[in-house]
């Protein structure tokens, strides 16, 4: 049922499973915290753990990742404490992770705007003869945006060592992919840019891993970008504020539920004799346990003042953003002299 598993070592297979379990635990905990009112609207990635874990694991740590809001937890697989992305959804600036330490760009909210950034990082590294690959995430909806076209075109043209990992989960909020584009296979869009487009099962962590590895190898060999279409299905809502029953058939959704990747990977690992059920259950339990009390850390995180935030906009803080001016009508130095 899952491809390529025979070529995976037990160690790597368990690493991928653990990464998926940690992502799942994060996602479930975040939804709970949202329901408890401890964080704000949260874009769940339930069902995308396989493609996300694979993408991080398939690349060495020096390679850059360019996430959207749907991949807010991939940075935790690079060592960032899970508290950080949770603070993001809390609306706390502590949610901005250290970009340079993890080589993960800040999440981009307008879809596709991150794709040109990845092209530039990859292209820039190529010009500087650094061995570096950049991977940018997107969804089926993002491939309708102009930045998708400009990024793919530019990347193909200059041979940027970049990977566009487009998870086609078949929905952009309420818009099905059939109303997003006339093309049936998103990967076919690659032909317009003279770059390879490949399709992979987004629920198959091993296939996703292989696909990203192959794309990265091509990029490192100077063969330029790859568009990967990871075909899946959005098993959850767009975000916690979304109500899918308004626009899609929940009966049909249930047909997709068996594809849920964490359970599916667990079954495959057991079937292949790479791990026992109990061992994998333990990994899942440990991942859940690790985050059990994180809500308290979110609550206890010290707030920052608007004055502190104002000092982060420019290198040298302009007059109007100075702590003593920020809340005032701009009645400045001359003010006291009047009368």
């Amino acid at each position: 049922m899952l491809t390529e598993l025979s070529s995976f070592s037990r160690e790597l297979a368990l690493q991928l499973f653990t990464a998926m379990a940690r992502l799942r635990a994060f996602d479930e905990r975040a939804v709970i915290l949202q329901h408890q009112g401890r964080i704000g609207t949260y874009p769940t990635f339930y069902g995308e753990e396989a493609v996300q874990a694979a993408s991080v694991w398939a690349l060495p740590r020096q390679d850059w990742l360019f996430p959207t809001y749907r991949q807010s937890a991939v940075v935790t697989l690079r060592g960032c404490p899970p508290l950080v992305p949770l603070l993001m959804w809390r609306g706390h600036p502590g949610g901005w992770h250290d970009v340079m330490e993890y080589r993960v760009a800040p999440i981009c909210v307008p879809v596709a705007t991150n794709l040109p950034h990845a092209v530039g990082a990859a292209w820039g590294a190529k010009l500087r003869h650094q061995e570096l690959v950049a991977l940018a995430y997107g969804g089926d909806g993002s491939t309708s945006a102009g930045d998708f076209h400009e990024a793919c075109n530019l990347a193909g043209l200059v041979g940027a060592p970049v990977i566009f990992l487009i998870t086609n989960n078949q929905w952009a909020i309420s818009t099905p992919v059939s109303k997003q584009t006339k093309i049936r296979r998103v990967a076919d869009k690659a032909a317009a840019y003279g770059i390879p487009g490949v399709r992979v099962d987004a629920f198959d962590v091993f296939a996703c891993y292989q696909a990203v590895r192959e794309a990265a190898a091509r990029a490192r060999a100077g063969e330029g970008p790859t568009l990967i279409e990871a075909i899946g299905y959005r098993l959850g809502p767009h975000a916690t504020a979304d109500e899918p029953s308004l626009y899609r058939d929940l009966q049909a959704d249930r047909l997709w539920e068996p594809m849920e990747p964490l359970r599916r990977t667990q079954m495959a690992l057991v079937a292949a004799g790479l791990a026992s059920e109990a061992e994998l259950d333990q990994i899942r339990a440990d991942s859940v346990e690790e985050l059990r009390d994180i809500g308290d850390s979110v609550d206890a995180y010290p707030p920052v003042t608007i004055e502190e935030i104002a000092a982060t906009v420019h290198r040298e803080t302009p007059w109007g953003l100075r702590p003593d001016r920020l809340r005032e009508p701009s009645w400045g130095a001359r003010g006291g002299a009047v009368g």
């Binding site: 040109p116 990845a118 092209v119 530039g120 990082a121 500087r128 982060t312 701009s330 001359r334």
Partner: protein, 328 residues
Amino acid sequence: MSATAELNMVEAITKGLGQLLEEDPDAILLGEDIGRNGGVFRATAGLQERFGEDRVVDTPLSEAGFVGAAIGMCLVGLHPVVEIQFDAFVYPAFEQLVSQAGRFRWRTRGAYGLPLVVRLPYGGGTRAPELHSDSPETLFSHMPGLRVVVPSDPLSAGELLLAATRCGDPVVFLEPKRMYRRGRQLLPAKFVPGDLDHAVVVRPGEDLTVIAYGAMVDVAEGAAERLQEEGVSTRVLDLRSIYPLDRESILAAAEETGRVLVVHEAARHCGVAAEVAALLQEEAADVLLAPTLRVTGMDMPFPLSQNEDDALPTVERVLAAAHTMLEY
């Protein structure tokens, strides 16, 4: 072009870019037709020949794509200077500049600013087709995280351009293209990076201040000359930085001359002049001898060339406003 020479503004920019590429191995130029062609205004003439195709890079016709790519280049240590071919062609890149570039330092809690400069030949007076004469400075000065810089002559173009490349924040660098070939200046062998924080009094005066920037400094000086003949001593303050504004120099002008008139070719509504006038109202109302008047472009698409002189501020329009203020 390295020795002392008399250059016009576009040649000064070429010289500044050449100096940047020489001094900073991480600097890279990106833009449409900037390589062999040297740019439609020849601002990059000869630079690809000198520095190679990897440092002076022709891009596809894709402003959002290459401005976005320049943001990514910053992350791997490059210092991109991007040329937008004409003012209004920046609009496709608006999202990358305001939703991405301007927010990057804030998104890294102050830790990391993008060393990105976007050069933008702007403004009217060149008899160009539609959407080749816009003045979009207000858009970028209203949106957070960007610096907006406008030189007015060859020397300031070279000095401010070099300062922009090392200021640590993304800069929208507006080049008044009408001044590109208007007049030469003796320039030093090497530019010293200029002062991005301060406006410059380009003409001293005591009765009235005309605040201007870009090509309008020339108009303001023309008006000051005529007012001098009438016995009116007029200060001309060249803003140079649109964001942030040099508040001190503006307030000093109010205090020392009592009358402040603002000139720009961008549309009036919510323009830079409105911000200056509000600043004066809030902080210098007690010293003003007359209300601040604005001589600006009009709240309409910049006219096609047959009517552009109607929309552009002229010496006569500045004089009329100055007389109103002096007689107030």
